[in-house]
């Protein structure tokens, strides 16, 4: 997994609530048997018309937002299907951080596993950021994961919450499987206890 420490980049405003994983990566593209290359289909139905031409008013088709590495959106981002193609597509496009007032649980978990940082900020502040970004296309946001801060284009600094374990894994690019396999003895002990207590399981 790619490490994440600090990130300074163009932030794209996606002023919508309940952005679901079907929007992030429509199902047609789930037929791929590769995890890479999905970025060109990110938000496909909102981004392209029937003929595959760019829709000019979609945010990621506009000037500086094309190179966005940060996405700012409304509440309940990533709701719907558990498809990990959603973070894969975001990552492949170049998005490393999503800022929203809230995230759907499964998507939230999936992002960390792929080196994308989801940051929840208060709704009022997200709305403020959205307004800024709409007015100043190409404005940048700076994320400092070790310090847990987000610096907006207005210079205002917000701190954000992240649990220590996830932060540690992100900063060091660690993957959980290796860590869990170290607990093999505890897992085996649990299994032998349950085999006696609840043999039908």
């Amino acid at each position: 997994m790619q490490k994440f420490t600090t990130l300074k980049g163009v932030a794209a405003p996606l002023n919508m609530i309940n952005v679901d994983t079907d929007m992030i990566i429509p199902k047609n593209y789930l037929k791929t048997i590769k995890r890479t290359g999905l970025g060109k289909h990110l938000f496909a139905e909102m981004r392209f018309d029937e003929q595959g031409r760019e829709k000019p008013d979609f945010v990621l088709n506009k000037g500086p937002y094309r190179g966005a590495t940060i996405l700012v959106a409304g509440q309940n981002f990533g709701c719907g299907s558990s498809r990990e193609h959603a973070p894969w597509a975001l990552l492949d496009f170049g998005i490393r951080c999503v800022i929203a007032p809230s995230f759907a649980d499964i998507f939230f978990n999936n992002t960390f596993k792929n080196g994308i940082l989801p940051i929840a900020l208060p709704e009022a502040r997200v709305n403020e950021l959205l307004r800024f970004l709409l007015e100043l296309p190409g404005a940048e946001i700076t994320i400092d994961l070790p310090a847990q801060t987000v610096t907006g284009p207005d210079g205002k600094v917000d701190t954000f919450e992240i649990d220590a374990f996830r932060k540690h894994c992100m900063i060091n690019g660690l993957d959980e499987i290796g860590l869990t396999l170290e607990k093999a003895a505890a897992i085996a002990t649990y299994e032998s206890r349950i085999a006696k207590e609840r043999s039908w399981v």
């Binding site: 309940n18 374990f165 043999s199």
Partner: protein, 470 residues
Amino acid sequence: MAGSAQPRTMFEKIWANHIVVDRPDGYTLLYVDRHLIHDGSYFAFQRLKSRNIKLRRPDLSFGTPDHYMPTDTRRKEDITNPNSRRMVTSLAIHGAETGVTVFDIGDRRNGIVHVVGPEQGITLPGITLVCGDSHTSTHGAFGCLAFGIGSSEVTHVMATQCLWQKKPKTMRITVDGHLGKGITGKDVILAIIAKIGAAGGTGYVLEYAGSAIRGLSMEGRMTLCNMSIEGGGRAGMIAPDDATYQFVAGRPYAPKGAEWDAALARWQALPTEDGAVFDREVTLNGPDIAPMVTFGTSPEDAVAVDGVVPDPAAATDVVKREGLTRALQYMGLRPGTPIGDISVDRVFIGSCTNSRIEDIRAAAAIAKGRKAVVPSWIVPGSGIIKEQAEAEGLDRIFKDAGFEWREAGCSMCLGMNGEIGRPEERIASTSNRNFVGRQGKGVRTHLVSPAMAAAAAVTGRFTDVRRLLD
């Protein structure tokens, strides 16, 4: 545990039973009793293989291809997209390599993963169950902790049979009183989501309680728990009772004999104790719930069939107003339109929400002696359900009424197998998501119960099913 005076919720008991390691930072390594796998689990198997890790407990893992398989054929060779064909065919191959039981295409036990688990007795009260699919919440209908995970977590479970989890909060949703005639689990859950919102349950495990919930059949309870995720809840659960035990008893993978007795004794101790505290309580009045229809592009956009399409202008918050405006534009609906005036182009009865025998019977009761006036599909949830429905003569009722009777699978719920609608086509669907483009580009999905879908099929519009009963 012994002597703990604090009354506990069912969730807390199940959680406590599955702790392998508790870490000081609040993470728990939680044991997974059952892992369900489908054709979308391709990546996880590949990753396991590439890292040369053995699948830890193939005996606790069960697979069934469902998403990518067309429902007009049972021959994998007929899948035209080569990648889709690869996903379907590789499940059995991966199963054989790792020792995981797979109910493959052609096996009568094959079907939608969330239908197959309970049907085979793989889903049991008190267990933890995960699957790389968000509708894994379905299985909570049996009083177990079941939730969807992403592909990385699927790989993690394959490798370790465990998951690192932080304890979620709990919410109890109580629905008391009798449900009216023709009101189903689908209407109840749509009413709940309309009330709490699509993100209302985020961070919570939901427990459904109250007399209206207890009165639901296991099929109804599965429909209810299935859509927990549409209300943001990762898991939904219902206390096991006699209906649960009757459903489970005798199923192929359910405990038998002395093990059954021991299991039953444990299961009976699972329900939430009086006085247990939830982080949030929500109540609904059962008799107030009417047949529900969604009008927008989020499952929270649901109203009673005798209601009207709401006016976005009435929404107080700007983002909400814009969202609703966009949704109505996509759906081709004007504010104030009575739901009963909306005509449909197509009907889909199926999906892990509503493809079980009771759902098919409810649709057949409406279809009987009537004629479908729009193309209407019935897609049973498993080969076994298909057989049972045929044994009951339900397929004949549907065929006589002009419905199409198909093979088991996810089908038009998601259309990953190529079964999709046309742009601007309006579909009355018994599935669980009405998202933009879910059933095909530009397709307008309205979520309803099976009886309401059948009523739409025979009248060509949303019709209050209560008027067609008797």
